[in-house]
């Protein structure tokens, strides 16, 4: 089965091709084909998972892609525990979200094209995780960026959507430059870009270069995964349809940065500085995301910052190196379930509320939408780390590992992860209270465009995927973590999971400390939002921390100051130079000659003059040369 694993990519790629080239002829059944191709990949992945053993990485070459001298890049796939895990996540969650989209996009006249883009995304994402070299990874990496661009900008008539799509692509490109440079350095110092040869040769490279490669890869990871300082695009990406937010901007694509670090484990194992910076980025981002998440009233943006924060946990984990690769991947998987479920729940609410996203205009929805409420509630419990649900296992494991570091690192990394767990409890409780509980704050009349709407439960084609994901949110953590199932499965790809026997706090204490801190967050949210009514209008007069959080903790301002403004000045300067400096001088010359030729024109009309001039000049030179030769 491994030898034909290219089929995994081929199914959705073919789907995208048929739907894009087939055009409107495929409208009637396009969505069904879109679902079928992803389900086919999922089934193939499952069959492979059960039929094959993954004790060793199996590389298969599909064809020779860029063969030039020493640079032999094959389009090849690597089947190992890490890639298979991702294949199952991508195609599994992907199938559910494709099915959900049949209902969610039912009224969009371009639904067929939507499925084409989703298929394109799945195919690219599979190339990203299956590729057996950094160049094939890069192919998928930019492919998912393209799909993300197309889908964020789906509602083309909204200027905000187009701007968000552009912002996402460009901030990702900043990261991509880092990734590309890392690949160039690999070729320069190792002479190859394939995983097998890079990992075999990385030991002979000087430590400084290894660290540089590690940091450049991290830059790429930060772009794709919305980590500081490249986090600002992810909340804006919520302009896309909600299934897109669930699949691309929560469950799969944005975790690609974590995959990249885990995949590059042999590189990061050699650079402690590189790992430390990954950890710092993760720890900082998980706090940043959770704090901003408290300030938004837009249900999708709260979830988006929650994603930023949760990926921060994963980054923190993989930055711990052998202590955390498997933990990061485990949290990535459970997060894939519960965050996709939460987003689909949010989509179901929006579907019912005429695409309203302001939570201040929700309230009391649990009566109208029982299934959505129940599935969302399970996802909520999973993310805040309610005992024995998914988050409890996978997030706590990361907090534990962070506290397992020595000295100040243990305190800083563990402390911030623990604090953010409390904040997560706060903002998620706030979200649930504002949306599902309290008084009804919407007025059941007509919407802005004159359509009547009545909050209602979504059709089964949408609720069934939500139920499946909710079940996953409940059970996945216990399955993956108990008995170290996942960690052992991943050994061939990322090595043994080390457990630290020292650390700054006793291990047994940490899970319960985490539960306690989270409970405090929940309690605080309940005091503020559960016991009193929420105003429909957003309070304007608030304290500075809230103001700062509402402004994304000045993330955009930072980007503006560091990148956009200097870029603008540089552009203006270049244009000025182009008009005045270079062209000015040339124009002076041209004006002189043009004036001369203008005079000439009066004598010789038409274009002949130039031609004659050309031949004349050439002829004079030629004759001169001949004479010079003859008489030299």
């Amino acid at each position: 089965m491994i030898a034909s694993s290219w089929l995994l990519v081929a199914f959705p790629a073919l789907g995208a091709l048929i739907l894009l080239l087939g055009g409107n002829r495929t409208n009637a059944w396009g969505h069904l084909l879109g679902c079928a191709t992803v389900i086919a990949s999922f089934v193939y992945g499952l069959a492979m998972f059960f039929a094959d053993s993954f004790a060793e990485a199996a590389d298969t070459t599909v064809y020779s892609w860029i063969p030039v001298g020493a640079l032999q890049v094959d389009f090849g796939l690597r089947i190992d525990p890490l890639s298979v895990t991702f294949v199952l996540l991508i195609t599994g969650v992907g199938s559910l979200i494709h099915i959900y989209s049949i209902g969610y996009m039912a009224e969009d006249r371009d639904r067929r094209r939507f499925f084409a883009y989703l298929n394109l995304f799945v195919a690219s994402m599979l190339v990203l995780v299956l590729g057996n070299s950094f160049v094939t990874l890069y192919l998928g990496w930019e492919g998912v960026g393209l799909a993300s661009y197309l889908l964020i900008g789906w509602y083309t008539d909204r200027p905000s959507a187009a701007t968000a799509a552009k912002k996402a692509f460009l901030m990702n490109r900043v990261g991509d430059v880092g990734l590309a440079l890392a690949i160039f350095l690999m070729f320069k110092h190792i002479g190859s870009t394939s995983y097998a040869e890079v990992f075999a040769g990385i030991g002979d490279v000087s430590p400084g270069v290894v660290t540089a490669i590690g940091l450049l890869l991290l830059l790429g990871a930060c772009g794709k995964s919305g980590q500081f300082p490249l986090q600002a695009w992810l909340p804006d990406a919520m302009e896309g349809p909600t299934p897109v937010s669930a699949l691309i901007h929560a469950a799969t694509m944005v975790t690609a940065g974590v995959y990249l670090v885990a995949r590059s484990a042999p590189i990061y194992n050699l650079t402690e500085d590189g790992r430390l910076l990954v950890t710092i980025v993760g720890a900082f981002t998980l706090l940043l995301g959770s704090i901003i998440g408290c300030a938004y009233d837009d249900i999708k943006k709260v979830l988006a910052y929650s994603t930023v924060s949760q990926i921060g946990y994963m980054m923190l984990a993989v930055g711990l190196g052998p202590f955390g690769y498997a933990l990061g991947i485990a949290h990535l998987l459970t997060h894939g379930f519960f965050k996709a479920g939460l987003f689909l729940g949010a989509g179901s609410v929006m579907h019912a509320m005429n695409d309203e996203v302001d939570m201040r205009k929700f309230g009391g929805l649990y009566r109208k939408m029982p299934i959505t409420f129940a599935t969302f509630g399970l996802g909520y419990l999973a993310i805040i780390g309610f005992p024995f649900l998914s988050g409890f296992y996978t997030k706590d494991a990361i907090i534990e590992a962070a506290f397992g570091q020595e000295g100040w690192r243990g305190w800083i990394f563990g402390g911030s992860a623990l604090l953010a767990a409390g904040i997560t409890g706060f903002y998620m409780t706030r979200l649930v209270l504002l949306t599902f509980f309290g008084k009804q704050r919407w007025r059941e009349t007509t919407s802005a465009d004159g359509r009547e709407f009545h909050p209602h439960e979504s059709p089964p084609v949408m609720t069934v995927p939500m139920i499946v994901l909710a079940v996953g949110s409940v059970a996945a953590g216990a399955l993956l973590i108990s008995g170290d199932t996942l960690a052992e499965f991943l050994v061939p790809a990322v090595g043994e999971l080390s457990e630290s026997d020292h650390g700054v706090l006793p291990h047994a204490l940490i899970p319960w400390l985490t539960v306690l801190i989270s409970a405090l967050g929940v309690l605080l949210a309940w005091t503020l939002f559960g016991r009193r009514d929420t105003p429909v209008e957003r309070p304007a007069n608030v304290s500075w921390p809230v103001r700062a959080a509402r402004k994304d903790l000045y993330g955009n301002a930072l980007n503006e100051a560091l990148v956009a403004t200097p870029g603008l000045w540089l552009t203006r300067f270049s244009v000025f130079a182009d008009n005045r400096g270079v062209d000015g001088a040339v124009n002076g010359l041209a004006a002189g000659l043009g004036g001369g030729s203008g005079r000439l024109r009066r004598l010789q009309t038409g274009f002949v003059r130039s031609y004659a001039l050309s031949m004349l000049g050439g002829g004079v030179l030629l004759v001169g040369a001949l004479l010079a030769v003859r008489y030299s």
Partner: protein
């Protein structure tokens, strides 16, 4: 065989001029048929290509002006065959695109067919004098295209184009004569000159000769700071003229680098390679930044050509800086440079034809006048999106293959400056997405009717298909380029 391919178009052009009775319709279809025949012959050449001991295939040598040691010497190798093929493809695309043309069709067809011969001639010439004649005639041909079929400012732009490139070609001729004089026996034959290495140990003379040649080629490429003829020429040229100008004529400059400057002046080229590299990097960044500021769609694409051709210059500069121990990286950079020439020809050729479609519909290149075209013209928006992403170097398209090789090969020569040039990739993404958003997304500003017509699709679609084919399966191209690149 090669000579038949080269001169077939000009014979057809003469035939068209000699048959004044033919209707415009017949003229147009004859033009398309001849271009298609040339392409078919080039494909046949490609299939039958097997380079001989000299490294060249289809070599022909006839004494032409024996007194000055110049002969009709033509042939193709891995550096030129891809460009010959590109030329044939682009001229066919332009012929198909021009099926709509009604203004002085006969002259236009004859002129384009003449230009096709000239362009093919530049790439197959193995004699400096022959090269120069074709090189010079290309300027003349393009001058008439811009002046005769261009937009309102065409006359002025055409003069600027002519003066600039003509002065450049004079410099080139001086350099060639310098080479000729230094050779013993005197010759203009490129292969003889390569064997002789006439400038070895000539000091200042060698530098002057190289300066003349490099300036001549740099004007044509164009690199900063001698690029300012390009934007007005493009803006005022007709769409098909722009496509040929950007797609084929610019390549003559960079092709000259790899065909003439690098092999015939190896020591001097190496000594001054850092300068070439710097010019390349400046062109990359400067071209991108100035393009970023443009409000005129076509002018913006013109400046991105400065950026994209800058990668080629960067690569040939870096290649010469790499020591012999890094021959592999050098070969990679040169292969990337040639791939980039082909890729840029396809993608930018398509973008210029698309800008012609835009002008046709909206009567302006000003991007601010458009908005929301994606809803009104979905097919046009779709194919433009493909071209835009191809041009900003998305993997899966030819541009990525080329730029990836260029950077991978060049990074060893000067890691920090070359890494800096990578920012050009970022800026290109900014400018293209911004332009795309303004023209195609957001609320509708003007109502425009008429999505892509069949001829437009047939003219532009294959260029994009080729870009994808090279992006995904570049082997057929790389295997041809690689052997020729490895001897440089």
């Amino acid at each position: 065989m090669l000579s038949i391919v080269v001169f077939l178009p000009v014979v057809a052009a003469l035939a068209l001029l000699a048959a004044p009775g033919a209707s415009d319709r017949v003229v147009r279809w004859t033009w398309v048929a001849v271009s298609a025949l040339v392409l078919a012959l080039v494909v046949a050449l490609w299939i039958g290509y097997s380079p001989g001991a000299s490294g060249f295939g289809y070599e022909t040598q006839v004494n032409w002006i024996p007194t000055v040691g110049s002969g009709y010497h033509v042939g193709v190798d891995g550096l030129s065959l891809p460009l010959v093929a590109l030329t044939a493809v682009l001229f066919l695309s332009c012929a198909v695109y021009s099926l709509r043309e009604t203004h002085r069709v006969r002259s236009l067809a004859a002129l384009f067919l003449f230009l096709e011969t000239v362009c093919l001639g530049v790439f197959v010439a193995l004699d400096l004098l022959l090269f120069f004649v074709f090189f010079d005639l290309s300027i003349v041909g393009m001058y008439f295209v811009i002046a005769g079929w261009g937009h309102s400012g065409a006359a002025r732009a055409a003069v600027k184009f002519f003066l600039y490139t003509f002065l450049g070609s004079l410099a080139l001729l001086l350099g060639f004569i310098g080479l000729y004089l230094a050779a013993s026996p005197h010759t203009f034959d490129m292969l003889d000159l390569t064997r002789q290495d006439p400038m070895a140990g000539k000091g200042a003379v060698a530098v002057l000769v190289m300066l003349a040649i490099v300036v001549g080629l740099a004007v044509k490429t164009p690199t900063v700071p001698v690029h300012t003829w390009l934007p007005p020429a493009h803006v005022d040229a007709p769409a098909a003229g722009s496509a040929i100008l950007a797609g084929v004529l610019l390549k003559m400059g960079t092709y000259g680098f790899v065909r003439i400057a690098m092999p015939i002046l190896p020591q001097t080229w190496r000594a001054y390679a850092p300068v070439i590299l710097a010019v390349g990097i400046v062109s990359v960044l400067y071209g991108a930044l100035v393009a970023l500021a443009q409000r005129d769609f076509k002018r913006m694409i013109a400046y991105t050509s400065v950026n994209h051709m800058g990668y080629v210059v960067l690569a040939v500069g870096a290649a010469a800086m790499l020591a012999d121990t890094e021959a592999q990286a050098r070969q990679l950079a040169v292969t990337g440079a040639v791939t980039q020439m082909v890729s840029h020809g396809l993608i930018t050729g398509a973008l210029f034809l698309l800008s012609g479609v835009l002008f046709e519909r909206g009567k302006t290149y000003d991007m601010a006048s458009y908005g929301g075209l994606a809803r009104q013209l979905p097919a046009f928006a779709g194919i433009t999106a493909v071209a835009v992403f191809a041009s900003l170097g998305l993997p899966g398209f030819s541009g990525f293959i080329a730029e990836f090789q260029i950077f991978t090969g060049s990074i060893g020569a000067a890691p920090v400056p070359v890494g800096f040039a990578l920012l050009g990739v970022l800026i290109t993404a900014v400018l293209f997405l911004r332009a795309y958003q303004q023209v195609f997304l957001g609320p509708t500003k003007t109502r425009v009717a008429g999505d892509l017509t069949l001829t437009e699709t047939v003219a532009i679609g294959p260029l994009m298909l080729l870009a994808v084919a090279i992006g995904l399966f570049p082997r057929f191209l790389l295997d041809v380029i690689e052997p020729a690149a490895s001897v440089l």
